[in-house]
Amino acid sequence: MSFLGYLAKRTVVLGITLILVLLATIMVAGGFGIVDRVAEAAIRQQVNLMIRTNPNLARLPEEERVRIMQTMIDEERKAIGLDKPFIERVPKYLFQALSWDFGNALYLRSASGSSNINDMIAEVLPRTILLFTTGALISAIVGIALGLLMARRPLGLFDKVMTSFAVVSNSMPLWWVGMLLILLLGFTLKVLPPGGYVSVPAPTDPVAYAFDVLYHMMLPLIAVVLTSFGGWAYTVRSLLLDTFQQDFILVARAKGLSENDVMYKHALRATAPPIVTLLLLSIVGSMGGAIISEVVFNWAGMGRLFADAIGYQDVPVIIAETYVFSFLYVAVFLVLEVLYGLLDPRVRTGVSAQV
């Protein structure tokens, strides 16, 4: 099978996964009557507004107005198909979500005042990606460097200290470390802002703005890196030690290559695919985990929006966010497949990857 054919097949599988997730989300939300309640409320609001802004209708007596309102609501309901049972409307909702038409939020607004969910997500998504991708990259780089050092002398002092650190840092939730850091650096020592994305009011000069964001990003970044570079280092070390036991390393050593050459040209190259996998998984994983961290750091990204939507019971936003998160996950898995194909010839040529 050609690489492109393989890729096409994987894309189809991932597309189906995405549709299934979306379907499940819609079914769960709809099965408990939440979608209907939301649509109902939206119609009521709209009709109410129409009647109040229409001077002819506003002058009518109370009962008359209520009667007209009810007929308008019924018509609206029919127009968007609310009179049909939920199960018949599922394909429509599915299609809407697949074409990224999430409609309007009930209560939440974007910073620019728009209630369109697409606008809101377009506003917050880059912030989440900025923070957590940077964090994952820094942790990975620091972790890989330390992992290489650990693998030099396994069970040596440095290795042992780092291993303990990895176990300790892995046993703390990122957001709790964040809360502690806010207490320590933001509240007690007051060296970093305890939360937020930019200062209020935000600087107008783009360079100053960028630096301001960076300044606000420091605390969350420290928390992300602190909780994840230990795990990285330990994983890289284990991968390297595994690789060291393989025959080609023995050969490389037998050839008389220096330990540096063995390490960087042979061992590290062989561990590249799992490291890339881990990097992407950690980015996407940290985005999912970002929900609580962004609340803690008051970082106005995807996670904060999700938490706000839960606080305000803004169901359309919750559904849209769930879908966007699923989409991000599946997209990352697709990227992963492509990279795997490029890095590991066995995948590309269709030879089974099991060893």
Partner: protein
């Protein structure tokens, strides 16, 4: 080490469930139960860091009535003694007054005498008639430090004693009642506390012989509380945090047993039967593997509002695919071993091989995995509770941390409220991680080969 910690946690859980029965937990959720506790008070051992002797809460009652009458007017006096030697004023004094009377409203006067002998009138009021009666009952719960009448009386006191006028808005009742006598008492940010015996007096002036003070007590709220402090509603965090232990252990342990169980079965079967069954199971595993677990769990919790008995299967539902993938690769490996081939040659059936050869090989791996996946589930549950979507009754560490965040504990400096629940999460997580690592080393002795 990990095992020892886990045993300690299990013993603690048993103790907690016995010492603080379920009703206590229900009471813990009812913030009205806690109004006599100082809000956001750090634990008592915080005194060590501050270098000051911070006040603890004292309850004053058991006053003795002294009654007398003068020309048809009946008087009753009661005194509560407070021995105060702390370095800071308390956070609040709540005085509970109960008076019963027949007709004419009696006058009530509450005053405060300092160790130096200075006497300050705190409150002067007439009892108000309750509905029904006679006899009428008058109950007053006086919050001394924030009561407007009290503040007005403090202004009068400052004016008459020092000739200093301070507007009621900026008067500090605590400073005046507890500070060493000086004109700057009124609104100084830090004061020297006058140490010694204080007296809280009530003086009743009534018009019927049956009129009397039926209750007179006070709570002097301190600035520290118990082993773990209090939250913004004055709840004793000790109870909530201790109760979090059995909840966390239960969720962590049951969820990981359940999800490792599912993962093992699915993984082994899909690895062993490589045909259609294997293919289908692998697809299902892949599907679940690619789900954004936390967002979906939060979404489902938002809709279901699960109790922990729903939460556990829910967490397991999303937790098993990783285990299944590993179990599958182990099954694939074991299947090609010569002893399996030998068994097959001897005529062993598929199910015999599965149960007698493959399952035992993967079993030790699953024990390690059960321990290793516990922290993840505890974190996930904590995240969901943090957002207020967890079990509605049971206190969990995540919920306590969520309350802390919502009440601004991080920017308000309520460190104990953030630190202690998190340390509990950390300790439980690390004990399972250590246990898991130890098991893993026994199961997969990778490094032993190198030594």
């Amino acid at each position: 080490m990990g095992l020892a910690l886990i045993v300690i946690f299990i013993l603690l859980s048993v103790y907690v469930v016995i010492a603080y029965p379920y009703q206590e937990v229900v009471k813990w959720n009812d913030v009205r139960e806690w109004s006599n506790n100082p809000p956001t008070a750090p634990p008592f051992w915080a005194k060590v860091f501050s270098g000051r002797d911070l006040p603890e809460t004292q309850v004053l009652n058991g006053s003795v009535a002294r009654r007398y009458n003068v020309e048809g007017i009946y008087f009753e006096d009661r005194v509560l003694d407070l021995s105060y030697t702390y370095d800071e004023a308390p956070s609040e004094i709540i005085v509970n007054l109960d008076v019963t009377f027949q007709g004419g409203a009696p006058l009530i006067e509450v005053s405060w005498t300092k160790p130096s002998g200075a006497t300050i009138t705190v409150l002067r009021e007439a009892a108000e008639r309750s509905t029904g009666g006679p006899p009428y009952n008058f109950n007053h719960r006086l919050y001394v430090f924030i009561d407007q009448e009290v503040k007005t009386n403090m202004v009068d006191y400052l004016l008459s004693r020092y000739g200093v006028y301070v507007p009621t808005g900026s008067v500090s009742v605590a400073n005046i009642l507890f500070g060493k006598d000086s004109p700057s008492l009124a609104n100084a940010s830090s004061i020297d506390i006058e140490k010694g015996i204080y007296q809280l007096k009530i003086h009743l002036q009534a018009y019927d012989v049956k009129d009397a003070i039926t209750g007179f007590s006070a709570v002097v709220k301190g600035k520290v509380w118990g082993w773990m402090g209090t939250d913004i509603w004055g709840r004793d965090l000790l109870i909530g945090i201790l109760w979090g232990t059995p909840v966390a252990l239960l969720i962590g342990a049951l969820t990981s047993v359940l999800s490792v169980g599912i993962g093992m079965v699915v993984g082994i079967v899909s690895g062993f039967y490589e045909g259609r069954i294997g293919e289908v199971l692998e697809r299902i595993t892949d599907f679940f593997y690619m789900l954004p677990v936390l967002p979906l769990l939060i979404f489902v919790s938002f809709i279901l509002r699960p109790s922990i008995w729903v939460m556990i299967p829910l967490l397991s539902l999303f937790g098993w695919p990783g285990i299944a993938k590993t179990a599958r690769s182990i099954a694939l490996q074991v299947k090609q071993e010569t002893y399996v081939e030998a068994a097959r040659a001897l005529g062993a059936s598929n199910s015999w091989i599965l149960i007698h050869h493959i399952a035992p090989q993967t079993l030790p791996f699953s024990f390690a995995n059960i321990a290793l996946s516990v922290p993840g589930y505890i974190f996930t549950e904590a995240s969901i509770s943090f957002l207020g979507l967890g079990d509605p009754v049971l206190p969990t560490w995540g919920k306590i941390l969520g309350d802390a965040q919502a009440s601004g504990a991080t920017i308000g400096g309520y460190w104990w409220w953030v630190l202690i629940p998190g340390v509990m999460i950390f300790l439980v997580a690390i004990s399972f991680a250590l246990l898991g690592n130890a098991l893993d080393r026994i199961v997969a002795p990778r490094l032993r080969r190198r030594e």
